[in-house]
């Protein structure tokens, strides 16, 4: 089958029986719901850009399984060049959407599960790798979206899965049948789950024997019997219902998160990739997290590019873009953003082949990448707010700007007064100034900030998770040997 267009993708969602709940009730036509639709448009962008010859090199690849042209988001990385192209693709889509476009979690899951199943089979004589290859071939062939689902709700963080008061707080097997398993539990914060055709589930932490029933990985269609999604609310979400696209800030694109619940869902054997081999749970988690920490060195950089552009544009509209303080802040924003990109590129460039043959990133550098992502976007946002000025958060609504309600002594309308007093440089339209300020509000405090700030902090693991990896990978003992050699310490 040929690669889908964005429009075809959107139509394909309508055919699913996905169960979505929001504000306390089921949403029937969720594809057209104004809160959800911008996140669908983001995913659609990953299809449309793949159709564009200008971006073909980044957006598509040749499948290592079938030799056919596929969307790169469904690709197994065949070398460091692929890893680098992945990061560049993510920067590109970030630039086009200024949002989380959600398709990376599936890509990162593909690559982590591919290599881990190979090693499980090697150790246990299982056939998970074959299962997975067949599954991925089907996904590539049909150009489908798959969500990678990892984060369990976790309950009391000081207790292991099997020790929780409610066993469902970690996803687990409740019944083992000849033809498959029945599972219960949930995954929280799931980016893009509503917009996915399928999900791949993975464990969320390394496990021990007592947690055998929680050491699980499998694929499952999003509309499987027993599976449903409760949509998370974001800052300023309901502005999208107001019919004030300017106030929305990013009128076409956005992200989404949901709680994915599996209530006695049956998983046939052919879709199972891990089932009790608990000692491999940690490897799967670590590899997925590693890829996903690399990802942020691409996607967030792309969003950063748009924010820098927006800050520069507000300065231009105010007539202050030549002020040395403004220029210096734009340089700092650029510097920080490109430092993130350096980290994304470096961990890709230093990648290496797994036993299964696909490539993974340099683990140390990928964690360093993500650690910087937990910091710099916050400073970029602060500098953007600095350049933008307070108007970003004190401006009247679009409805005010457009109102013909009379006000004042001379019969002016609210709209006229707003346009009069919020004028910048003479040649700039007030509406354009409003658009770019609202965009910045969106990225700094609104729905965009959920993706650009909080997700940068916690997505792919919270800061402390990276610090633990940096500690493990930092080879402190080797560094002690270096100094001993230099100062002539001979133990």
């Amino acid at each position: 089958m040929a690669l889908m267009t964005g429009e075809q993708y959107i139509e394909s969602l309508r055919k699913l029986n996905t169960r979505v709940y929001m504000f306390g009730k089921q949403i029937e036509n969720w594809v057209d719901d104004p809160i959800i639709r911008p996140s669908i448009n983001c995913v659609a962008m990953t299809y449309d850009l793949a159709q564009d010859p200008e971006h073909e090199d980044l957006m598509t690849a040749t499948s290592s399984l079938t030799g056919k042209k596929i969307n790169r988001f469904a690709h197994l990385h065949q070398g460091t060049d692929d890893l680098i192209r992945k990061v560049k693709m993510q920067r590109l889509v970030g630039q086009k959407t200024a949002s989380c476009f959600q398709r990376c979690v599936g890509m990162d899951a593909f690559n982590a599960v591919y290599s881990t199943t190979f090693e499980i089979d090697e150790a246990h004589g299982t056939s998970y790798h074959e299962n997975f290859k067949k599954f991925l071939e089907f996904i590539q062939e049909n150009d489908l979206i798959v969500d990678g689902a990892m984060t369990d709700p976790k309950g009391d963080r000081s207790k292991a899965p099997h020790a929780q008061a409610d066993p469902d707080l970690f996803l687990h097997v409740v019944e083992r049948r000849e033809d498959g398993i029945v599972v219960c539990g949930a995954k929280a914060h799931q980016t893009g789950s509503v917009n996915s055709h399928w999900h791949i589930f993975m464990p969320t932490i390394a496990m021990r024997e007592e947690d055998k029933d929680y050491a699980l990985s499998f694929a499952c269609p999003t509309d499987a019997e027993g599976m449903y999604l409760i949509y998370g609310r974001q800052s300023c979400d309901t502005r999208k219902y107001e019919d004030s696209p300017i106030d929305v800030g990013n009128p076409h694109f956005g992200g989404q998160e949901a709680l994915v619940v599996l209530d006695h869902v049956f998983i046939p054997n052919e879709y199972i990739f891990l089932n009790g081999e608990y000692e491999f749970a940690g490897m799967m988690v670590e590899r997925f997290a590693g890829y996903h920490r690399q990802s942020y060195g691409g996607c967030k950089v792309g969003v950063g590019d748009v924010i820098i552009g927006a800050a520069a544009l507000t300065a231009e509209y105010n007539g202050v873009e030549k002020a040395s303080a403004v220029k210096d802040k734009l340089v700092e924003m650029t510097h920080l953003n490109e430092t993130l990109y350096c980290c994304g590129i470096a961990c890709s460039s230093q990648g290496n082949a797994t036993k299964a043959g696909n490539y993974q990133i340099d683990m140390l550098l990928a964690n360093v990448c993500k650690q910087n992502v937990t910091r710099f976007p916050y400073e970029i946002v602060r500098l953007a707010e600095d350049i933008a000025g307070g108007l970003m958060v004190t401006m009247p609504s679009q409805k005010d700007f457009e109102s013909d309600t009379p006000v004042g002594n001379n019969g002016e309308t609210i709209g006229e007064i707003c346009n009069k007093y919020f004028a910048g440089r003479e040649e700039v339209s007030t509406v354009n100034r409003m658009k770019v300020l609202r965009f910045l509000e969106n990225e700094c405090l609104g729905a965009g900030a959920v993706g650009y700030r909080t997700e940068s902090l916690h997505g792919a693991g919270s800061p402390q998770a990276q610090r633990i990896m940096i500690q493990r990978q930092g080879n402190i003992q080797g560094k002690k040997e270096l100094v001993k050699a230099i100062v002539d310490i001979d133990d």
Copy 2:
């Protein structure tokens, strides 16, 4: 007249004919509008705390004009002790509201206008100081709220007031009459204007002779003929209309900003405090800004206290409060917050008497204070988000938590599922966890973030304004002399 209670204050607002516009139309009963009311509650808190014997020492003072007991917000500072008490009062009210309580702008205007009018009169033989004293006595006597209005819309920032395409982009005199003046223009980003009984208007920059007609200061009742207010929208403002107080985050308190428009408003002579003596515009601006930069070393610290408490509470609810990384982040937040407080206290402690007799802060240290306020709240917020975890921005709505819509195979409701999967430690109720996370969302990305983040950046002047003052006040020449003495350079 006795000091008002919060309730009396709210009733007093109903008697005014204040004209408020929002979402394109006039709001009739704005006192009870769910978007506006939380900001009124904040101001009311400044009345209620003054009634509380526990806080009397901070919240009230003895008037230097009448010898009567007044609310400290209407006080002329009589010494450094008063300046320090001011900061402590602000921290207290910040702790009680976690919001901008708006009454400081008036207090800071009182003190700046009092001392500046004294010096204008001295130079010009005018009687502005007497005008002002009478006005302030009236305010103290009636325990009224006065907004200090400074920031003109400014249009093209590279042009002086008189050189703007539209003269109204800076507030100015359009007619001089025997009994007063007629003025036109607007003030943007006005904190608390809707909730004030009166306004004091002041210039926004130092001026030269060409801008004589813009060198203006005067008092004016908020419901004066020709005056009206267009309410600014904040992040997540309309959640307050949803009847979901938990999702609002800070259910009772909030801030507000508006565009204040003066369309041919007549100002009688007795309320004029500056009228063309352009060389004093800079002094008035600088003094007001100085006081207001001190203020942030109190109010934002109080809000910071609540945010630190909220972060600690989420950690407790998750069972991770003893993790060394969590404790260390709480220490860092406390450290940054108390550093701001140090700056607020120090610039107060080092204050000095003006010619008029009231006290002003140390200018250098007040600017240093505000410069830190443009930085540390952003880091405090980042650390709070770090401790809180991603759930803060991915959690379903209150309506989901309360919904009895059935979902799942066993007849559970959406509400039951939400409560099941968002449980933390066993003994903690999910609703409490939700409350504190929504509070943090409010302060980090929502309406509270407008006050805690962007206002910290731009209120009382953007960062670059403080840097210019620090440069002027830093006595670099004196410091060069210090090093010359030490290294024996004798010019």
Copy 3:
């Protein structure tokens, strides 16, 4: 007796039988040793400034014990004004010496021991407070320097005093006699010990019953039988032997540290202030540390002033002082330096009376002060190096600049060539440029950096020690209550 002059102080040192060891041998005329003398000059400055009517208000005080005029360094603080004057005095002496002037440790010990002995006596019926008052009266009367000695060598940091392999690694009693005690041990990193007439010894950590013999405080003359000092080496120390004052950077002033050893020293009863009441060891440590953490908000700020002046002067000499990047860096240095000052002032302003009647600083804010001191001087130094340029560390020696050795084709000397090529702006002498660059080298990397950088980090306790205090004092529980009140959580 009248206050001594600096010269009289220096002469008084010659009369002591102080035993000083350096570079492996005893230094006989240590008062005139070029490595030691600059640190003596610093202390002498505390005498000379007290003679100067211009500085009398800061440098002297009226003794609370005798009513006589004394040097403020020997004063018991009688109110917050005294605490503030202390900080200002320290900033002043820092500005005059650009070094650690060493006399604060004694002052801080006086105030800590005074209040702690009062409370020990109250609890145990001992007479330490009287002992101490008599001792301090003697010191005030004779205007003497007293070193406060706290830091034991500590050996294995994971073991308590009594558990060390060598008991001497913490100072302790080895014999109890009717008329006094005999002590053994040492104190490390002792600032100014060589230059002091007396020492006050104090414990270095809170203690338990097993460490009773280590819970000790007493006074002892510096040349007591059995006491001697091993001088620590500093970066670039031996430049002072080169007869190249310009290369020294700070030609007249400097700091010093030494290991102070007590080898069976007898302490008469009248000089004992703590002897086994182990539960008060922690109080004494904490109070001394608190005062000393305040001190750094004064002395380091004074040094910072000189460094900022030096950076500005190099920019002037290079003709770049008007470049916006240079001005901005000077603003940042000033901002950071004044933030430290704010902390020093604030913890003083918020001080409170002890049971004994003298005043102590606000503990939380003093720890916040010091925590900032562990950070900002490093950034100030970095910015100074940035403005200064690389020449600071690549410039030939003073001997090269003054050499008349011929070099080159035209008979120029090394000196002429150096002066030719290291010229800045035409009107600036190369030697002046060299002086200020060498001064910055001294503060950034040389002997001055020991005091300005490393001492800022570890003096008065390493960063982690402050963090522990901030955690204890930060009232996290109270802050949790604040947020509960706001979001309606009722446990």
Copy 4:
């Protein structure tokens, strides 16, 4: 000729007639001078490692000019793999020397001059490229060290070269002859010049027609008639004369800087690479600077590795390596260091071919790399000082530790007392503790700090130089277009 060993290299220096001046006189046997020798040992390490089969892949390359095996320091980069190997080679040599090993400047000059001369010849029909190729072949063949000399003394920074009071403040032609040119002037801060067989001179800024005579590039043997070097002094330089290798900190290795003077030096035509084609001065500067900014993402990372190891070792010796605060600081140091490495790798990975065929780095990312190098080593040093504790700067001298001068009541020697009181954990020898602390002193404040701190700041251009490049390369206009597309602004 085969690659030289380190020993052969050192012998080759003895054969040169290099004129070196230090402390006001000529140094005859400079190769064995204790101040200079450590820097020679560093260069020798670049030879020895190239002989080691373990490092052959990084340390050697196949010449693009001759096809022979050469030291990679003399290589023209043939692809991004070469650029990456360059960075890894630099990290390796940094790890082995903990110093600036000086050979990079030549390598970076080779690659910049190679590509620039190609483009000059293309534009002007000159034959500089052929000149250069012959020269480089000779260097590769003989495995020689070449210094790249760029930074003119500059005098008054506000004036162009031709406008200086003394024309020699920028290197320039004083005579044009048929067979060559005669030049006068100097280069300051020259890293490794004394240790080089040849120098390549390049302009230091972009130039205009008036500065034609200053637009110069050529090669010249270090001992050419009329050329001499004045050695710069470093922090703690003379400790190397004390015969106390432990106090030196880094006993075998170090860096060097000198003023290189050319007093009427004749340059034959065949060694000239730029001579008046002023419009290419900027290109040569920018390319050299670009390569050199990449370099710091390797060499300083290697030094950082040793510093991290040293900090960890001091913690181990003190028995505190398991303290969470210590571990966290080591993680932070590692994180910062690896971020620098990411930048070095990324700008290499994204390199591209020049017209001449060799590869250059990505300019934007190389400048981002160096900008981070101006910041992170300072924080790494601060954290190392934090972990090390104050002893690093207060410890007595090696002579004290080794002294048998008696001291104390029981006949102990100074050495015994030092070893007694500076003991750490029982099983650790005091001398080892001293060695690693002195090493850190060296890197934080001593001679090593010149290379690790100040050179990180100013080497390859001061921070502001990178900011200007980031501004130019940051494509702000393109970023404005991105946001316009997203918010539907259609100009």
